[in-house]
Symmetry: C2
Subunit: 205 residues, 2 copies
């Protein structure tokens, strides 16, 4: 990779947001499928899952993913709103980490707007008759009969939309780590609410 | 992917361990660079980072990574020993999650044996003069003068080995999720200490 945008820590920060923004709009970008971590088991254990980065707003410091309202991570987010993101682009050898507070949108205008722009085949994912994690006898048992008979029907039902949850994260800390044979480079920034700027710089990788 | 090993949940479990074992011995296997999550900030926040899967022992249910003893995750592991792993293979469209308890090995026979088999250029990573996360003026400032003058020298010093930590995780819960257009499949298993077997089956993806 060209490491010119790594000449200063500030340029790296800027590039991270730019790449994330780009990834949210590209189908196959490696930064589009990050890992999101929450805290479960009463604060004892990290819970990880891969999500799709759905929207990025660098000015509002916002990263967004979607989930099913019945998913265990929603209960975890009610206990601690802290969300940790980890992105990795093998081609760039760049890892981005970000942490912030979750804001949940369900059955509101933000959720409805996102729902409308979601392809029909993705809306189906919210139509399962049982919450994720429920034990079943065989794969597919959770899908409603109407899905089996007539897949496109479900997308029109309120049933699926009722389960749709938009999770926006307002980032408070972000760091970029460039892995490089001649020495890794890592920059870390924290949002200063008082001064309304990112404050930080290089740290030991 | 051939989904024949997904005919039963037990076959998926077996395949997951087999793939992890294989990944730990192959340089470029996508399952070789998982995300590991611990709990930080007094139980409020998940802390994520990419690690290299160094060793797998399916019979002992053990997954191993290496780190620097001065890394923040070591302090996090002292507060809660729970380690969460997330592996993803885009080619197989397979996600594996595993959680368990960490056992730390530093300056013991297990650490020394792993250290001896580590290539010289990797041993250097443990020779930084400052802990990771320390603020620095410019990238590279953490590297000892001797590394700059004569890179191979450091690998022979006890200084680097002193920082080398082997983290073994004994897995208590493991699940495989196969993403598939015709419906995802997810199997989850828990180790039964009493019966000394994995117990579980299909769950809603």
């Amino acid at each position: 990779m060209h490491i010119d945008f790594f000449e200063t820590a500030e340029l790296l920060l800027q590039k991270c947001w730019q790449l994330l923004d780009q990834a949210s709009r590209e189908g196959r970008h490696p930064l589009r499928t990050p890992v999101v971590g929450t805290v479960g088991s009463g604060g004892r254990q990290a819970e990880l899952r891969t999500v799709v980065l759905r929207a990025v707003d660098p000015a509002a410091r916002r990263l967004t993913f979607y989930t099913d309202r019945r998913s265990p991570k929603v209960e975890q987010l009610r206990q601690s709103q802290r969300v940790s993101w980890l992105f990795y682009d093998p081609g760039l050898a760049l890892q981005i980490r970000a942490t912030g507070e979750a804001v949940l949108h369900s059955r509101d205008e933000a959720a409805a707007s996102a729902w409308r722009s979601l392809p029909a085949e993705h809306r189906k994912n919210y139509g399962a008759t049982m919450p994720s994690g429920t034990a079943i006898e065989a794969p597919g048992q959770e899908l409603p009969a109407l899905w089996m008979e007539n897949p496109p029907a479900l997308e029109h039902t309120d049933y699926a939309f009722d389960h749709f949850l938009l999770v926006a994260t307002v980032v408070e800390e972000i760091e970029g780590l460039l892995l490089h044979e001649q020495g890794h480079r890592r920059a870390q920034f924290r949002w200063s609410g008082e001064k309304q700027v990112w404050k930080g710089g290089w740290i030991v990788p």
